[in-house]
Structures are given as C-alpha cells and as structure tokens.
C-alpha cells in the first residue's frame, strides 16, 4: 500500500438522472470520508400539494421526476383511491399494469443502453460506438420506442401521461393499434435477450452483505402485494413507514433511509432476489440460464435484473394486449371526501411510498419515500468498500485517483439513482 493524501471531487456526475457530486477524502493511504451530495434544487412539492383538489394532485406530483413520472402518477392515484375508498375496476388495474410495463421498458432501456453500456464498452457515450457495433444504437432506440409506443397507446404519453386518472383511464385503447404494438414488442424481443446476455457476461463484481426490500407481487406487475425483505420481514404496504428511519445526509438537498435500523437496497435486484418465480412464463422459459444468478448479492447484477424486467414487461404486455376485450368504462367514484391512506408500488428504482391525508376533497398532507433516497445509505457503504479496496490494491497514487473515479462512477450508475426524485420530501414533518 502506498501512503498518500487524495481529495477526489467529481462534480456533476454524468449518465444518471439529475445532479449529484461526490467527494472522497483519503489521508495516509486510508479512506477518511465519502460524501455523496445531491445537488438538485428542491422544488417544494410538500408545500405545493397542500390544499389542492385531490384529482389534480397526481398530475402535479408527476412533475417530481421526468423519467419515472408514471410511477409517481400511479402511486399517488393509488394513495388517493385508498384514502377515499375508490375501487378501480379489473380493467383499470390491467391498464395500470400495461402503463407500468411501458415505463419499465423505456426507463430500464435508457439506463442500460445509454448510462451503463458505455462503461462496459470502455467508451464515453453510446454515440461513440465504433462502426462495427453501431447496431447497438439502433437496438437501443427500437427497444425504447416500443416502450414509448406502449405508453402512448395505453396512457397517452410516456412523460406526464394524461389518460391515467383517479378511478380509471380517461381514454380507451384503440383496438386497431393493438396488433401493430404486439408485433413491435415481439420484434424487439431478440434485442432484449441480447442485452440480457451482455449483462450476464459482464465481469463486474461488488459483494457486500445487505438487506433487499421489495413489494412482492403475484404476477410481477409492480403494483400490489406485501413488502418483503431477504432478512425475512413481511409487511403490509400501509405499515412500511413504521419500519423506516430517516438519515440526514450532510451537504445535500436530500435525505436517506434505513430499514429496521440498517442500510438496505430497493430496485430491480431486490425484486429478482425476492420474486423471480412470479415472472412471466415466457421470460422464465427463455431466460432460465440467466435467472439462476438470483438471488445475488453482487450489486452489479442490478443491471442484469433490469434487463430481465424489460423482457418480463414485454412478455406480459403481449399477453394482456393479445387477450384484448377492452371496453369503455366510467371512472370508479369515491365513497367519501376525507381520510388517510397509503399507496405503494414498485417504481423502476424500487419501492415508492405515498402517504396522504385528504380533508373535504383537498389534500392536507403528503409524505413520500423515494427509491433513490432509500438506496443512498447502502450506496455510500458500497462506495466506501470500493475506495478501501482501491487503496489496499497497491496501485500508485497517480493511478489510484483515476481508478477510484472510474470505479465509484460505475457503482453509482449500477444503482440507477434518480436525483430529481431524491431531492424531494426531505423534511419529515409529522405534525398534522
């Protein structure tokens, strides 16, 4: 080991959602401190939702995050419905599944092709792919476009989807578009299998014992189920908050969380570790070899898990769309105008929790638990492990800085953090 002092600052991490900086302090060849700073400016959603009519709030909170707006929309709608006793129809739940699948396909594809693949291929950007490999750009765009078109068909648009509302969908699916979309989804399937294989063969490894937490849904549809952890916890969605502790992160416009007193991880890896048996039968058939990887405590397998979730989303969407029979429905109505309730779903990056109180049709209170905020403490521990490993690896100080920069960015990207989301609802205010 070489004794050295190093202050590494990475300003504006690229290829993640939103703005974050990372500071690492090494003294005498030993790690002293890691500070991950969420640099997003807060937009004060806590205050903005208060007093607003409940029906307008899902579209308002959709603006928390551009990339996973559909997750915020869906979780908020569920919270309103649980609060006011709205019972969505079977068809509405099915359309919500399709909407969530459309989100997973394009959001995971953006992360894997645009953010992670460049690290794996040793290039700066997917746009820099050498001529012989340019087909990966086309595949990336086609897979994303299939998700984008599914969003359009079911929910009106991929970002701030206009059709998904409290009690139901405002527009019905155009039946003439279904065969076109089914064939588009089928057409990109080989590209998704290729993507899965790329991340299966990815040699990156970081193992550190941690706890994985996810809502376990019976058909892997990201919507309804019990919250489970690999440590054996089984919790109702509405009780989730009681198991969490807020952790203040210095210098950040965000805060982190612990689950039952310890760091934990949510997201695709947690879902695959806890629930791979519930994936679509076609996914299980064609990805059997890759699914043997799970459960895994290699954090980089989050990328493989995301690729597998694209395949599942595609396979289940093809089945649901092919079954057809969509009919026009009136929205389900609330049975009361005041109350309190919880909506929880699996967003692309993990469990997303909305706790809402409504008085006479107006929102009185809203508290959120954001996936990235839940992962921040675990991520910081993983960065520490990587830096400590690099310090002990015996590389010379001038190479050490480069190695740490590269490896730290790689592990941060494996988490697919979303800083736009993480910077909200940092102040926990339980006064009613």
């Amino acid at each position: 080991m070489h004794s050295c002092d190093l202050d590494i600052e990475i300003n504006k991490l690229s290829k993640i959602e939103g703005h974050a900086d990372l500071d690492i302090r090494i003294r005498n060849g030993k790690l002293e401190d890691v500070t991950l700073k969420v640099m997003e400016n807060v937009r004060f959603f806590n205050q903005a939702v208060r007093g607003k009519p409940y029906a307008s709030v899902p579209q308002l909170v959709s603006r928390i995050c551009g990339t996973c707006s559909i997750a915020h929309l869906t979780a908020c709608i569920e919270a309103v419905e649980k609060t006011l006793g709205v019972a969505p129809s079977e068809q509405t739940m099915l359309l919500r599944k399709l909407t969530m699948y459309s989100l997973m396909i394009r959001d995971h594809a953006l992360h894997l092709y645009f953010f992670v693949l460049p690290d794996l291929l040793g290039i700066d950007s997917i746009l820099d792919l050498a001529d012989g490999k340019k087909e990966l750009i086309h595949e990336a765009l086609h897979v994303k476009e299939a998700g984008n078109n599914l969003s359009k068909l079911v929910a009106g648009r991929a970002v701030h989807a206009p059709y998904e509302q409290v009690g139901g969908f405002s527009h019905e699916i155009d039946p003439s578009r279904i065969p076109i979309l089914v064939s588009e989804l089928r057409k990109v399937r080989p590209s998704v299998l290729k993507l899965i294989d790329i991340f299966y063969r990815c040699p990156w490894k970081l193992k550190r014992k941690t706890n994985f937490v996810a809502i376990v849904t019976p058909d892997f549809s990201f919507l309804e189920g019990k919250i489970r952890s690999t440590n054996g916890a089984v919790i109702e969605e509405r009780d989730y908050w009681n198991h969490l502790h807020n952790v203040v992160l210095p210098y950040s416009q965000a805060s982190g969380f612990q689950f039952e007193g310890k760091e934990y991880m949510v997201g695709a890896l947690a879902r695959l570790n806890l629930n791979k048996e519930s994936l679509h039968s076609n996914t299980k058939r064609d990805a059997a070899k890759y699914l043997t990887v799970f459960p895994s405590d290699n954090i980089y397998h989050n990328n493989l898990a995301q690729a597998l979730e694209i395949l599942h989303s595609l396979d289940h969407s093809v089945e649901l769309l092919s079954a057809g029979g969509f009919k026009k429905e009136d929205p389900a109505k609330p049975v009361k105008q005041s109350g309190e309730g919880v909506g929880a779903i699996e967003a692309p990056r993990g469990t997303l929790y909305y706790w809402m109180a409504i008085d006479q049709g107006r929102v009185r209170y809203l508290n959120l638990v954001i996936p990235t905020a839940q992962n921040l403490v675990n991520l910081r521990e993983d960065i520490k492990k990587i830096v400590e490993g690099a310090c002990a690896s015996g590389v010379f100080p001038d190479e050490l800085e480069e190695k740490i920069r590269r490896e730290a960015e790689k592990i941060i990207r494996a988490y697919d953090p979303c800083m736009s989301c993480a910077s909200h609802f940092l102040r926990v205010n339980l006064k009613f």
Binding site: K12, S14, K15, E17, G18, H19, E40, N41, V42, R43, F44, Q47, A48, R50, L60, R63, I64, C65, G66, T67, S69, R106, L110, F114, F115, P118, D124, S125, I126, L127, D128, I137, H138, L141, H142, K144, E145, N148, R157, A158, V159, H160, Q253, S420
Partner: protein, 157 residues
C-alpha cells in the same frame, strides 16, 4: 475530424426541473437521432455523455427554471457560449411548474424561507428570458414532439 466541420454543435442543458423535457427528447431521438447525427454533433448532454465541451455551441437547448444563483450563472455561461439559445418546455418559457414556489401563499413562503437562504436561491424562480436573451421557444410539459422537431430542425440546416 474533418467530417465534423459542417456539423452543428448542440448542447442540452438542465436547470432546476424534473428533466422531463430532456427525457422526452431521448424518446424523440428514437426516430430522429440517426438522421440528426448526420447534421449535428452532440457536445453537451450529461444524460448521454461525460466528456463535455461547452465552447462554440451553435444551438443550446435549455430546460428548467432559474431558481438559484448557480442556475443564473450557468445560464449566463451557456448564453455566452452559444449562437442560438432555445427555451425547451413550459418551465424554461414561463417558470412554471418547476417555479411553483412563486405562487405560494405568504405562510408557505415563510415555511421555505430558511431553505432558500441556506442554498442560495433567488427571491423568485425565473423564466430564461428574464435572465438572458432567448432566441426561440418550444412549449409543452413535456415539450410537444411536433413543435420540437419543427423548431430544432430550423437550426440544423
């Protein structure tokens, strides 16, 4: 590289917002990117690349509102580096919805005052044109696909 000499140098920048417009731009890319890459070089877009080059831009697409002193300085820097500056989306055009604090009641404003002071926020969130000269605008939340393509392509030829 010689082949790049005639290509427009394009940057995509995010000030304070949900980045919904730039995310939607990556969806518009699904159909248009390959064609546009014949005419443009994407020199700044943190969602897509790390190595960035701020200088001598032909077109800067800017989303979000100017909520902090840092946002203001960044926008001024972008303005000084680009021939054409396009406000991308409703936030950049009119400061809403990301500048929703402008619409708060006095009580709500008092509640967020400490945070504003601690993090160098401006008294009001501003639209781009309240800070620098804006050459063109693309409305929508997120940007309308049709208007984006029409407006952006004007500056690629």
């Amino acid at each position: 590289m010689a082949e790049n000499q005639n290509k427009k140098r394009v940057g995509v920048f995010s000030l304070t917002c949900d980045e919904g417009c730039s995310i939607y731009l990556t969806e518009i890319f699904n159909r248009k990117l390959v064609e546009w890459l014949d005419k443009m070089e994407l020199v700044y877009f943190l969602s897509v690349k790390n190595k960035t080059d701020f200088s001598n831009l032909d077109v800067a697409l800017v989303e979000g509102v100017v909520t902090s002193q840092k946002d203001k300085e960044e926008l001024e820097k972008i303005r000084n580096s680009t021939k054409i500056l396009i406000a991308m989306g409703t936030c950049a055009m009119s400061a809403l919805p990301s500048g929703q604090r402008n619409t708060f009641t006095p009580e709500q404003k008092e509640e967020i005052r400490e945070h504003l002071e601690m993090y160098g926020f401006l008294p009001q969130a501003l639209a781009l044109k309240e800070v620098v000269k804006v050459d063109d605008e693309i409305p929508g939340c997120p940007v309308s696909e049709e208007i984006f393509v029409k407006t952006f392509e004007k500056y690629l030829d």
